[in-house]
């Protein structure tokens, strides 16, 4: 096989790009398999060490935090619940509100859409105190509901669903009507299956968004039982800094590697579906 110079060049650029992104992760992973003494004396590692099972086992099962009650495994569960809840509800709510905006002719539909749209300008960080006040007045601090609820509305997703529904030909709705589909059936039997790709894409984005929330869970939770992975990254395994103990760098790297897995898995699993949907245009 013969390569043209341009092809070789483009491949070199692509490979460099891949290395640029993959190398830091590889370094973190390699370092996470060494014991703390060698990391302390020799710095970051490129080759794998022998403390893989020990480090990862400690990370997942050792109780940490101020009260020494929370394990990383628990934080993963928390993060997963939070991200899953946020992603699911965001997708469901925005798909339904876009359905209402596009298919139901009510007065003020356009102003309401724009009202939803301008909430993009008010992210959670801007309204964090009022949000906290409301959630705490409702007695929802230190609950999963409190972690999830203030984040379930999404202007972005509503906008994307709206634009998608607008491309669906009217005849489809009319034909479905004549076939006896009511508004609920049309949503379930037509819009949802037709927007499969969109649903998967939105779910991925929103899962990663929910998973990487930092400030909100930090403010919301005083009980370590509700700590999330991203919060833990700052706090866990730092308690032994003082005194004679070595910084637990190996465990912290192991923790970072583990924290990357859930979003990666979601992307990998849903991506198949997502790409399949992109190839078979069904409209």
């Amino acid at each position: 096989m013969k390569f043209k110079p341009l092809e070789i060049l483009t491949h070199i650029i692509l490979i460099l790009g891949v290395l640029l992104m993959v190398l830091p992760i590889w370094f973190s992973f390699a370092t996470s398999t060494h014991d703390n003494v060698s990391i302390m004396t020799e710095g970051m590692k490129f080759f794998l060490g022998e403390s893989f099972s020990q480090n990862y086992n400690e990370v997942l099962n050792e109780k940490g935090g101020w009260s020494e009650e929370v394990t990383a495994a628990r934080m993963f569960v928390n993060s997963f619940i939070m991200a899953l809840g946020i992603a699911t509800l965001k997708v469901v709510i925005s798909a339904m509100s876009a359905y209402a905006l596009v298919y139901f002719r009510f007065k003020l539909a356009v102003p309401i859409f724009w009202l939803i749209f301008i909430t993009l300008l008010v992210p959670l960080e801007v309204r964090i105190f009022p949000s906290y006040k409301i959630v705490s007045d409702l007695g929802l601090t230190n609950t999963y509901t409190g972690l999830i609820l203030p984040l379930v509305a999404s202007a972005t997703a509503t906008f994307f669903f709206r634009q998608f529904y607008k491309t669906i030909p009217d005849e489809l709705l009319e034909s479905a009507k004549l076939d006896g589909a009511n508004s609920w059936r049309f949503f379930i039997d037509f819009l949802l299956p037709l927007s499969k790709t969109m649903l998967a894409a939105m779910f991925i984005f929103m899962f990663v968004y929910g998973y990487s929330q930092y400030l909100w869970p930090l403010i919301m939770t005083t009980d370590e039982k509700y700590w999330t992975v991203v919060m833990g990254m700052k706090i866990i395994f730092t308690e032994n800094y003082e005194g004679v103990a070595l910084p637990r760098t190996g465990e912290r790297f192991a923790y970072i590697i583990l924290s990357m897995l859930p979003p990666v898995l979601v992307v990998v699993i849903l991506q198949r579906w997502f790409i399949k949907g992109l190839i078979q245009t069904e409209k």
């Binding site: 009319e174 009507k177 076939d179 006896g180 039997d189």
Partner: protein, 348 residues
């Protein structure tokens, strides 16, 4: 009482456009009626009001004895075939056809039987597992028909279903629709802007223009005795020749040509219509003209010529040897002409 009755139906859109104006029509059970007219004449709006997809501004529609003005489209028991078929892209052919039945709570077994029967009838039984995106235009058309047939509705509504097909397939599907309709005897309304489709399909044709019914009749009546100038021009291909003329004591004056109409009419501003194939060309014809252009169509040819400054065409067998620039002689028989009063466009 007729099967489907439209009484003084009017449709005014929110922006004030009057799409359909005071239309009344009776359609009998089992009849095949074609709505024909130029685009934007309101024929589709009328059909969509029968389907229940458009509100009725004024008037009353009754089907099988019941007023259906306020009945939901799904309960009217009508089936519609759309111009772009509106197949459900994410469902297999089988599910496309079964969907309406499922919503009516029919048992799985019965749905299976019905869909399979109709699929055999339409010769799409090999395609039941495919998605619409894997079908050709003609196959999609059949599936759309199948979806309508399988529900066994009171009325079939066709909204220009053949306009997306190529010419050959269109003729084939036209015949097939006609055959199926005869076979099943279901009342059908077919909307088209193509007068050939209208002529070949309809038991009766409704010619619509500007939201008003111009004429209702069998294809033969409409062709041989158009009620208005509009119908005369719209039906028939090539178009009927219409000469502006003055009529004095039953004699039409077209430039320096005189045609005796054998009546005693006196109209200042009239149109004299004659179909291109009704102009009789013969060596001892009364009138003489020059052929400006000759269009060869295989078995026929069309000659374009002028009387005074008014263009006209005649259609004749291409066996006659006539070329552009030649003169030819012809007769216009007063039994074959159509006379319209230009002030209101109606037949005299």
């Amino acid at each position: 009482m007729s099967f489907l009755e439209l009484q003084n139906i009017t449709k005014i859109y929110p922006n004030g456009t009057k799409a359909v104006n005071e239309t009344s029509l009776n359609i009998d059970n089992g009849e095949f009626v074609v709505f024909v007219g130029p685009s934007g004449c309101g024929k589709s709006t009328l059909l969509r009001m029968i389907a229940g997809l458009e509100d009725i501004t004024n008037g009353e529609i009754s089907l099988d004895g019941n007023v259906i003005n306020n009945i939901d489209p799904s309960e009217r028991d009508v089936a519609m075939v759309f111009q772009n078929y509106a197949l459900y892209p994410h469902m297999s052919v089988f599910n496309n056809m079964a969907y309406g039945l499922k919503n009516r709570g029919i048992s799985k077994e019965e749905i299976n039987n019905k869909v399979n029967d109709v699929a055999k009838l339409l010769e799409i039984d090999q395609l039941l597992t495919r998605k619409p995106s894997m079908l050709s235009g003609g196959q999609r058309q059949r599936v759309a028909m199948g979806r309508a047939i399988v529900r066994n509705p009171k009325i079939f509504l066709f909204d220009e279903p053949l306009s997306n097909l190529d010419a050959k397939l269109r003729n084939q599907m036209r015949l097939e629709i006609k055959r199926l309709q005869r076979q099943m005897g279901v009342t059908s309304i077919f909307v088209t802007h193509d007068q050939t489709e209208a002529m070949t399909l309809g038991d009766r044709i409704v010619v619509i223009n500007n939201g008003v019914v111009e004429q209702v009749g069998t294809p033969k009546e409409i062709y041989s005795k158009p009620n208005t100038k509009f119908v005369a021009e719209f039906i028939g291909s090539p178009q009927m020749n219409l000469f502006n003329c003055k009529i004095e004591n039953g004699i039409a004056h077209i430039a320096d040509m005189r045609i005796n109409l054998n009546n005693s009419a006196n109209i200042d501003d009239a149109s004299l219509g004659i179909r291109p194939d009704d102009i009789l060309i013969s060596d001892n014809g009364q009138h003489t003209c020059v052929a400006n252009l000759v269009e060869y169509l295989g078995s026929d040819m069309i000659i374009y010529s002028k009387i005074g400054d008014q263009e006209f065409s005649c259609k004749l067998s291409s066996k006659i040897n006539l070329n552009a620039g030649d003169t030819f002689k012809f007769d216009i028989s007063n039994t074959l002409v159509h006379l319209f009063d230009n002030t209101n466009g109606s037949r005299v």
